[in-house]
Symmetry: C2
Subunit: 588 residues, 2 copies
């Protein structure tokens, strides 16, 4: 089915919920003009719909292939990538000095949502390239920047992140890949990396690998990890491609989904690389781009959820089964109340996650470009707070919504070649990579809540309460009802937050056993805040937007928000049984 | 990994939670002896572990193949089926007069849980055969019984159910397959059936198809549907196999999961069949076996959930990543609190669903074999009430728990060949077939709540409250805390039930829009009832059982039960937004 680029919903989320206009005139965004949002999203929507969506299912079926000459992308991906590259999409949010357009990353997120929604396997290639660009911009030497950034920003070359090894997944510090200094200032890198997304392919001329490795005599663990840049083809002084570096893909994983995204086992056999940033500070360098990578993965949850919603909605309009009032003969299943409720669940969850992600993206931009240090500092806290929520809550949502999409399709949804089934498979990786959702929960409940004396969540809750007050003050019965649910839910989040901050100090193990439940509750309430804000903002919009946003917020309020008070115990008491009887349950 | 047949947990559920002993000496169960439960489960557990589990992943990979000679089962399946057949497992709960052992079906369910848990694709073949046996026992002529039942009960032949056609899924009444009378009393059946599980294969000598079709001039819709028996090979008067009937598999579906279960497109081209039961009463005949088929599918959710739990638990013991207190060097991820919490979630949900399913199974047996009409009537109500809950709640749980199992595996869980990934794929069909979970919700909220003036759920809630009182009266602080959660949850269920019964009369559409949420709440509370009962019953068990059951009930109480009050609004108010703004949301 055609992907219907959700330009209106993304635009609404960016402008009305995430308030991207706050970036206007910010440092570094001189070329940003709010009037650009619509046209840029429209244009990207066409690419997504006309170029990327048509090869999504064929790519799933064909997958990428490993040959003697390296990895060959699925049919059509090379041409599609050329269209992406030639459209200048890679450089949208990249610095102008390297050929980028210097626009807010939040706007690039809007573009990437549609790219992922149309074809998640494709989207991973530019996503990883963005990460490489960010890492080099932040930590590369001038020479490295000159050598790589122009080509990466132009989309002529792509980038990868090489962290994982068989024994080093969530625990990156356990990695063993070695980097031995050569006499010319470069390093010889040797070791095996796994799960390397788009680690090899034939859709661009060169691949710039960012690799974590260990210098000789480096300290053990994460304090002995350094970052290196290591291209597939060495680059001559004049910028032309030189000899093939000794890094290659020696295996492709057979995965549940994202088949057209080659997941490579990479072998570094004395490959030539150059240190990026300081020795033994590789992890810190990687963390520079971790926030944006995590947010991008969260957005994948939104994108796949949206695609699942669209597919289910379309199927529900076409598939006729049974009779309902007001329809002659067999009725489209959309006429059954239960199906419409499922669709409403899907759309409201997607919209909530979308708002969280864009709010996080705008905060990230504002943290760099805000006019005052106060604004930048507040935005940084917000970005830090929302990043794990955006990543984990949105990707869990993506899996659940994709599963609901299968359900709406009935038996047809279990057929492997349907888009519904593909999305169910594709979506499942997002809660895992870029830090499992369990890691995100620990990050939120541990590091993020303790930042600035708990200010990050404190400010968020204050904003939620302000939104609830605004909704109440409209005296519109529907909005007042929503406001009541939001107020109660906010109080629940505040209660759970207090417990978490205290318990993290007094009994870390018990706190950690409640972290995932806490993140879930946080996302539920923050998502409800944005939907409420959406209903408020839509009061001045056209009838359809207003009715839709009010309905989504109203439904979410009576379901997800209404459940918030009952979920506090899951945070504060759920861990007790797990830890108290751990010996009987698990033998540890 | 080896499947660890959960004999203890199944035995506990059957004896302590579902009180299977009430069947002792019941009519038709003269040969049932409570002492048999353990040994039978042990023996079936060996079959599951040693014969069926080893070909689960290979079967997923190879799948069944359609050849010119029909469907060839995945490698190893023929031998495994021979072991199943020779063990006499098909006849465990079948009438003794046809060679069965006449044991309670609840006990056969315990066997089937392990069969499905070890190899769900395999389990579907006997499951469908049970259905065919039940239909023929209830509705077949004496000649049909003599012709087919001995062979089916012995496992020499297998059975299928042929309902679905492309335009007739949930709406069975829309089917078009024709049955034209022949001069000899048989019928010529013509049409196409889809999604026929184990519709063709090479693991047994004959296949007995039960087929829904329409007689010439039959009324339209579901009142014009008749049931026929139509064997793959016609049966000679002496019982030997005669000529090949003109029914064949013309296509195999490529599915998300259960690859080793051939899902056939069946073509009936004037195939010879015989009427089962009365003309135009085919749907009623099918419904005879629908309850037990639905319960069996619910059990698949339990089985797959259990397998996912086991796989995740094993992986968590093996996979080392990061450091925790008290462990030198990298710790197994089981030592991380978040992982243990996930495993506790999985196990408690599985145990709750298991109890619901076995309670439903025992009720079904008691409905037939209870000593007095009063007992039988009460049991029938309980069976009717629990069937949709067992089917839908357990299968939704199965999908969620399988997804959690993937998550515990991290990146490894996304590798398509891992058992975790397979279970995620396999589990997804169960909420769909045998009546989608949406259909189950409508059945519960509509038909089941209105039976006997609401007595079915009324009795259930009274029993829940009695369990809560018993827990409270122990004065054991842990049990008292659980009792409080159960009481509150029970009151929430009662409130939602009153609303549903009233609204189903006054505003059916709004009621239907809340049906799925109502079923979810019902399962949550009934599941909590059984876990509480488990904690109570385990007080006299060994230390480990007691600690485990108390921990599972305690965890469930602070999570799922604590959320019950907040879920009432989802039932009573969630549908409002969906229906009120349906035009803006969906254009209908």
């Amino acid at each position: 089915m055609p992907y219907d680029a959700p330009v209106n919903d993304i635009s609404f989320a960016l402008t009305q919920l995430a308030a991207i206009d706050r970036l206007e005139g910010g440092e570094g965004f001189e070329s940003y003009d709010p009037e650009l949002v619509g046209p840029i999203l429209e244009e990207a929507g066409k690419l997504a719909r006309d170029v990327l969506a048509p090869i999504n299912q064929s790519g799933d079926k064909a997958g990428a292939q490993l040959t003697d000459d390296g990895v060959i992308a699925a049919p059509g991906f090379k041409d599609a990538y050329a269209a992406f590259r030639d459209g200048g999409w890679m450089g949208l949010a990249a610095p102008e000095e390297y050929g980028g357009q210097g626009l807010p990353r939040a706007l690039a997120l809007g573009v990437m949502e549609m790219v992922h929604g149309a074809n998640m396997a494709f989207g991973l290639c530019p996503m990883l390239t963005f990460g490489a660009i960010e890492a080099l911009v932040a930590h590369g030497t001038e020479e490295q920047k000159e050598t790589y950034l122009h080509k990466l920003v132009a989309g002529e070359w792509t980038g990868t992140m090489n962290l994982t090894e068989p024994q080093a997944g969530s625990d990156v510090g356990a990695l063993k890949t070695k980097a031995v200094p050569n006499s010319d200032g470069s390093y010889a890198i040797s070791g095996q990396k796994i799960y390397i997304t788009w680690g090899d392919h034939d859709i661009a001329d060169n691949i710039v690998h960012l690799v974590l490795a260990r210098l000789p005599d480096a300290p053990e663990g994460s304090r002995g990890v350094s970052l290196f840049v290591c291209p597939k083809f060495l680059v001559n002084a004049d910028g032309s491609l030189g000899e093939r570096n000794s890094v290659k893909c020696i295996g492709l994983e057979t995965k549940l989904g994202i088949h057209a995204s080659p997941t490579c086992v990479m072998e570094y056999d004395g490959a030539t690389g150059w240190l990026v940033g300081e020795e033994n500070k590789g992890l810190a360098c990687m963390f520079t781009m971790m926030n944006s990578a995590r947010l991008n993965v969260g957005l994948e949850g939104v994108a796949v959820g949206e695609a699942a919603y669209q597919t289910a909605f379309e199927y529900a309009q076409e598939r006729k089964q049974g009779k309902t009032e007001g329809v002659d003969g067999p009725a489209p299943i959309l006429h059954h109340a239960d199906v419409r409720r499922t669709l409403t669940t899907m759309r409201s969850q997607v919209m909530a996650a979308r708002a969280i992600c864009y709010a996080c993206g705008v905060a990230a931009d504002l943290a760099e470009a805000g006019e005052t240090e106060e604004i930048r500092q507040a935005a940084r806290l917000r970005e830090e707070l929302l990043t794990p929520v955006a990543k984990a809550w949105s990707t869990d949502m993506g899996v659940e919504v994709a599963s609901l999409g299968v359900q709406v399709h009935g038996g047809m949804g279990f057929m492997n070649e349907t888009l519904a089934a593909q999305l169910y498979r594709d979506s499942r990786i997002a809660p895992i990579y870029e830090g499992t959702n369990g890691i995100q929960a620990i990050d939120l409940a541990g590091r993020k809540l303790s930042m600035a004396d708990g200010a990050a969540m404190g400010e968020m809750i204050a904003e939620i309460n302000a939104t609830a007050r605004s909704a109440r003050e409209t005296n519109d019965p529907q909005l007042v009802q929503i406001a009541e649910r939001l107020e109660t839910a906010s109080a629940s989040l505040a209660e759970a937050t207090r417990w978490m901050i205290e318990t993290m100090k007094s009994d870390r193990e018990t706190a950690l056993a409640g972290a995932t439940a806490y993140l879930g509750l946080s996302g539920d309430v923050i998502g409800g805040h944005f939907l409420t804000k959406g209903a408020l903002q839509a009061r001045s919009a056209d009838y359809k937007t207003r009715a839709q946003m009010t309905a989504l917020a109203g439904f979410y309020a009576e379901t997800t928000l209404a459940e918030a008070p009952g979920r506090v115990a899951g945070v504060t008491k759920g861990g007790e049984a797990v830890l108290r009887d751990s010996e009987a349950l698990f033998g540890v």
